[in-house]
């Protein structure tokens, strides 16, 4: 195939790719500015307005469209995501640390851990709710659902940390031990600062996965719902553009998180670059 034809083909391919990737978000963004409260999720836009944003934030006058039940659900989701992030990252880091030495049955344990992200969420959620019923445990977002969120995000944090430790030069730790420093303090003063960018990535993974987790939470979250369940609850009845306004707002929130992550990451990398250009050089 000649060059120009190939170029055009690739350009078209990329255009389609981008359209599919950003199309839904674009539509959501446009419809969120629909006129309210009469306007629905349809084209063309009757009149541009920010009514639905006001509606989401509770600033609009009361109408027949019920306000989104987001206040408490959002707090719950953020709390749950934060707790999941902390626990999954700590567990993931410690487990990956254990996998640095070959121990008996390490292969089996590896699959055991990774199973948490392989098993379909619906099955896991259903299973957990059955177990909770059998044991007479109340299903709550901070109990049963939290456990499943950790089971689900822990493998991701673990795999991220495993990759980080794979590139980690163990001789740096050995050097610290030989200087008379205990393994515990060596981990705090040497290992952790070096693997910190990886820890940040693991945290981001765990947080975002937990924040919009649906199937596991649906079965195990109990009566107090999290954000994704609350949203699902509203559009199973009737869809109004306030959902789209909310979608835009949460996306912006996610972007903010990513930006914070990016800033922290750049700062961390710049710090280590200032001290050691090319984090660990191999001089063999």
């Amino acid at each position: 195939m000649n060059q120009p034809a190939l170029r055009i083909l690739l350009a078209v391919y990329i255009a389609i790719f981008i359209a599919f990737l950003y199309g839904p978000f674009l539509v959501m963004g446009i419809i969120s500015f629909q006129q309210g409260p009469e306007g629905g999720p349809q084209f063309p836009i009757i009149e541009w307005s920010t009514f639905w944003y006001k509606h989401v934030l509770g600033l609009a006058p009361p109408t027949r469209v019920a306000p989104l039940p987001i206040g408490e659900a959002l707090t719950r989701s953020l709390t749950l995501a934060f707790a999941t992030m902390v626990v999954a990252t700590v567990l993931g880091t410690l487990t990956a640390q254990a996998f640095r030495t070959q121990f008996k049955g390490s292969g089996f344990v590896f699959y055991l851990v990774v199973l948490g992200m392989m098993v379909p969420g619906v099955l896991l959620g259903l299973g957990m709710s059955l177990v909770a019923n059998q044991l007479g445990v109340q299903r709550t977002w901070w109990g049963t659902a939290f456990v499943l969120h950790v089971v689900y995000t822990f493998p991701f944090a673990f795999l991220v940390m495993l990759a980080i430790f794979n590139r980690f030069d163990q001789r740096v730790e050995e050097a610290a031990w030989a200087l008379g420093v205990t393994p515990m303090r060596t981990f705090r003063k040497v290992t952790f600062p070096i693997i910190f960018p990886g820890v940040l990535s693991a945290m981001l993974f765990a947080f975002t996965l937990s924040y919009d987790e649906f199937p596991r939470t649906l079965f195990t979250g109990g009566p107090d719902v999290t954000m994704p369940i609350a949203i699902y609850g509203t559009f199973s009845v009737e869809i109004h553009p306030n959902l789209f306004a909310f979608g835009v707002l949460t996306t912006l929130f996610s972007f903010t998180l990513l930006t914070i992550y990016g800033v922290l990451m750049t700062a961390s990398i710049r710090r280590s670059q200032a001290k050691a250009s090319g984090i660990q050089e191999d001089i063999e």
């Binding site: 050995e174 610290a176 030989a178 200087l179 420093v181 040497v190």
Partner: protein
């Protein structure tokens, strides 16, 4: 004083060390020479406590330290790739041990600064305190690594191929530096290397490790002049080693009858140093064997000639301070001659046959 006794280490089925016993005196420079795979790094890691021996003991001033974790042994190790802490400055790297060690940490900032500065001064890195470890050269990293270990005043300082990553020029300078630093501090250095020049030039005593066993422990002059076994001679990379057997008082090597040192009836191996042999015309009466010239290599102070002998490659070194280089053509026939007194003979076990008129250490 550190005593190693019968240190043995297996990795699965492979034996990395077989019963190494050794006494390390206080205030000495010990070099350990071995080809790669001889177990030299394993020995160092066992002593430092980074690996556990399968059997054997390590005693430091009478105390058995073999079961202690690395941070309780009071030994320093300078690693091959320096293993500097990438997230710290030069100063913080050196201060790390003093500041955070379990036993007897230095808490006073002024004291830390004083000792780190003194150590950086000793290794010639004053003024580099605030540099990151990525902003300094290989030789400087080497010095930081050394300073970081020495500032904690280890009882023995283990160096794992410390000069391996440096270029030749720097290597020579660091050789002198290492000796000077050691003399100043009076710490025992155990320097592991695969480079025979380093091992010969730096050690007060030298250990030759081969196949996981210490095959010779002696001062470098003695190791070089009278290698105890034919393997030691091979590791030194300074001997042509010929195989054959004794026939009517001469050594029959592929038909060439070579003169033997006295009393070497059972000789099976015959060694002649590269620089003890000279090239002569093929019909010269002193020629002991005939060989075909392959190529030569100019080494600055001398030339190394490579020839194909009756059985394998033969190397001849010629120092240019003694004579101008000779130019030969590839494929040219030449004779090689040497003095019978320069030859070493080894018996069927590879042990050196010590003759009565053996020359003393040169």
């Amino acid at each position: 004083m550190m005593e190693l006794e019968g240190l043995t280490k297996f990795y699965g089925e492979t034996c990395a060390l077989r019963g190494v016993s050794l006494t390390i005196e206080d205030d000495e420079y010990l070099t350990l020479l071995g080809p790669s795979g001889s177990g030299k790094s394993t020995l160092l890691r066992l002593i430092a406590g980074l690996e556990q021996p399968d059997s054997g003991s390590i005693r430091l001033n009478g105390e058995d330290i073999a079961s202690l974790p690395p941070h309780r042994r009071g030994l320093g190790i300078v690693q091959q790739n320096y293993a500097l802490f990438p997230h710290m400055t030069v100063f913080e790297n050196v201060a790390f041990g003093l500041r955070w060690r379990e036993e007897n940490p230095v808490t006073e900032e002024a004291e830390i600064t004083k000792r780190v500065d003194a150590m950086l001064d000793l290794v010639g890195l004053s003024g580099f305190e605030n540099r990151g470890v990525g902003q300094i050269s290989g030789g400087q990293k080497q010095r930081v690594s050394l300073a970081r270990t020495l500032v904690t005043e280890p009882r023995v300082c283990l160096l794992d191929e410390p000069l391996g990553a440096l270029d030749a020029n720097l290597r020579e300078r660091m050789t002198l530096e290492l000796r000077r630093i050691r003399d100043t501090l009076g710490v025992t250095f155990m320097h592991v290397t695969g480079n025979e020049h380093e091992a010969l030039g730096m050690g007060d005593r030298m250990i030759v490790l081969d196949g996981g066993a210490a095959v010779m422990i002696a001062p470098p002059e003695q190791v070089f002049d009278r290698p105890q076994t034919v393997r030691v001679a091979q590791v030194l990379n300074a001997y042509n080693i010929l195989q054959g057997r004794v026939h009517e008082g001469r050594f029959d090597h592929a038909g060439s009858m070579l003169p033997l040192p006295p009393n070497s009836e059972g000789a099976m191996h015959y060694a002649i140093r590269f620089d003890a042999a000279t090239l002569v015309p093929p019909d010269d009466p002193t020629a002991l064997i005939r060989a075909t010239f392959i190529t030569s290599e100019f080494t600055g102070g001398g030339v190394t000639y490579f020839l194909r002998g009756p059985d394998g490659v033969f190397e001849v070194e010629r120092h240019l301070s003694r004579a101008d280089p000779q130019v030969y053509k590839g494929g040219q026939e030449l004779g090689i001659s040497w003095a019978a007194t320069d030859a070493l003979a080894f018996d069927s076990d590879g042990e050196l046959i010590v003759s009565s008129n053996m020359r003393g250490a040169a």
